[in-house]
């Protein structure tokens, strides 16, 4: 009885009920299947694109990294770190300054460490105050030596008192010794790889040349000394 009633009702209103059922089921499919999946497809397309791009970038990076000679690179890094180290390295600096003063014909009468944490642009610096005696004629040579030293230094203040009779001077120099902290984002896999430009290559070549001329020990002539046979 109930079934017959339902059939009667359906037959009576089938022109409305069937399209309504079609509409509702289509709407259901769109809301719960087609729309979410299409959105997911678009997002995944973006993700796939990003992954491919990143993969290509890393591939290029690997190729670039493999093209460098490890030994050559570590030698260059060593030279660059000697010129601009990460530490203050007081003892080496004092030794170097003394060596340069002596080479320029000056004798150091006193050394004092000044401000130990200045900020000099992208590097840090500390001051070494040197009091020296020497010839006035040689002073420019001393300045040149200090400013082209194997360790990056800058001349700060200059005080000169000259003695008229002997052409000698008493000078007090403030030398800023530069150092720079190591960069922090070394280990990141996706950090961009810097390229060494022509200027960089020229600079490193000049630093290497400078460092070899400075560190090259003087040749000691091996001449025989004393008797060739001490028992004769």
């Amino acid at each position: 009885m109930k079934k017959e009633n339902i059939i009667k009702f359906y037959l009576k209103y089938r022109f409305y009920l069937f399209p309504a059922a079609v509409f509702l089921s289509s709407l259901f499919l769109i809301i719960f299947a087609i729309y979410p999946q299409t959105v997911k497809l678009i997002n995944n397309q973006k993700v796939a694109g990003d992954l491919t791009n990143k993969s290509k970038l890393l591939e290029a990076k690997v190729f670039a990294l493999e093209s460098y000679d490890k030994e050559d690179l570590s030698q260059k890094v060593g030279v660059a770190l000697a010129v601009l180290p990460a530490d203050k390295d007081f003892l080496d600096v004092l030794g170097l300054l003394q060596e340069q003063a002596v080479q320029s014909g000056f004798s150091i009468t006193s050394v004092a460490l000044g401000n130990t944490s200045n900020k000099a642009g992208s590097a840090s610096s500390y001051t070494v105050k040197l009091e020296m005696k020497g010839s006035k004629v040689l002073f420019q040579g001393l300045l040149d030596k200090l400013e082209n030293s194997s360790r990056l230094t800058k001349v700060g203040s200059i005080d000169i008192i000259s003695r008229q009779t002997t052409q000698s001077i008493d000078t007090s120099l403030e030398v800023d010794v530069l150092y720079s902290q190591l960069p922090k984002d070394f280990e990141k896999v996706d950090s961009p790889l810097p390229e060494l430009s022509k200027e960089d290559e020229d600079l490193i070549a000049s630093l290497i040349k400078n460092s070899t001329t400075i560190s090259k020990p003087e040749e000691i002539q091996q001449t025989p000394r004393g008797k060739s046979n001490p028992f004769e």
Partner: protein, 180 residues
């Protein structure tokens, strides 16, 4: 000549018309549902295909990342080298203000002038005291400081702090020189 006569009762005719109209609606409805099902399955199939592509791309990426990790010492060296060279390039071969000013003054002061003391601070301000034998040399000194072309436009001002003549007839002058 043919004559067709419909002997069906009008209710039956109306019913037949309604039936054929409903068949059309049914056909369209089923077609719409089939299209929807097709679209749903298509998006599903594409998604499966895409997930496969993504997992391949992820595998490739992790492989490349592993290669970069293996080369991290080279990468660190290169980054460090570039960092050092950038900083070194800013300072190497660039004279500080004080030494540049000393070189300039050494070039400008005539040989007849005896410099007693020079004081140059970090900012490039200089105080110089000198002993000058005669007025001609004094003129030369001031002229060279104020109007010489080879001062490379670095001196902004020269202010005389003291000027006196001693019993020996020599001039004692002290002046301040400022850099641009």
């Amino acid at each position: 000549m043919k004559i067709s006569i419909n002997l069906l009762p009008p209710e039956t005719i109306a019913e037949e018309r309604q039936k054929s109209r409903f068949y059309k609606i049914q056909f369209i409805g089923i077609a719409v549902i089939l299209i929807m099902v097709f679209l749903a399955s298509l998006t599903l199939a594409l998604q499966v295909l895409q997930s496969r592509n993504i997992s391949v791309a992820r595998a490739q990426l992790s492989e490349e990342e592993q290669k970069v990790v293996n080369l991290k010492s080279t990468q660190a060296s290169l980054l460090l080298l570039k960092n050092r060279l950038t900083v070194i390039n800013q300072y190497l071969g660039v004279s500080s203000k004080s030494s540049a000013l000393y070189r300039l003054i050494d070039k400008l002061v005539p040989p007849s002038v005896v410099v007693n003391s020079i004081n140059i601070d970090k900012g490039g301000d200089m105080t110089l005291s000198a002993l000058v034998a005669d007025s001609v040399s004094l003129d030369d000194l001031l002229d060279s400081l104020v109007s010489k072309d080879d001062k490379e436009n670095k001196i902004s001002q020269v202010s005389i702090q003291s000027l006196g003549r001693g019993r020996d007839g020599q001039y004692r002058i002290s002046f301040k020189i400022g850099l641009k």
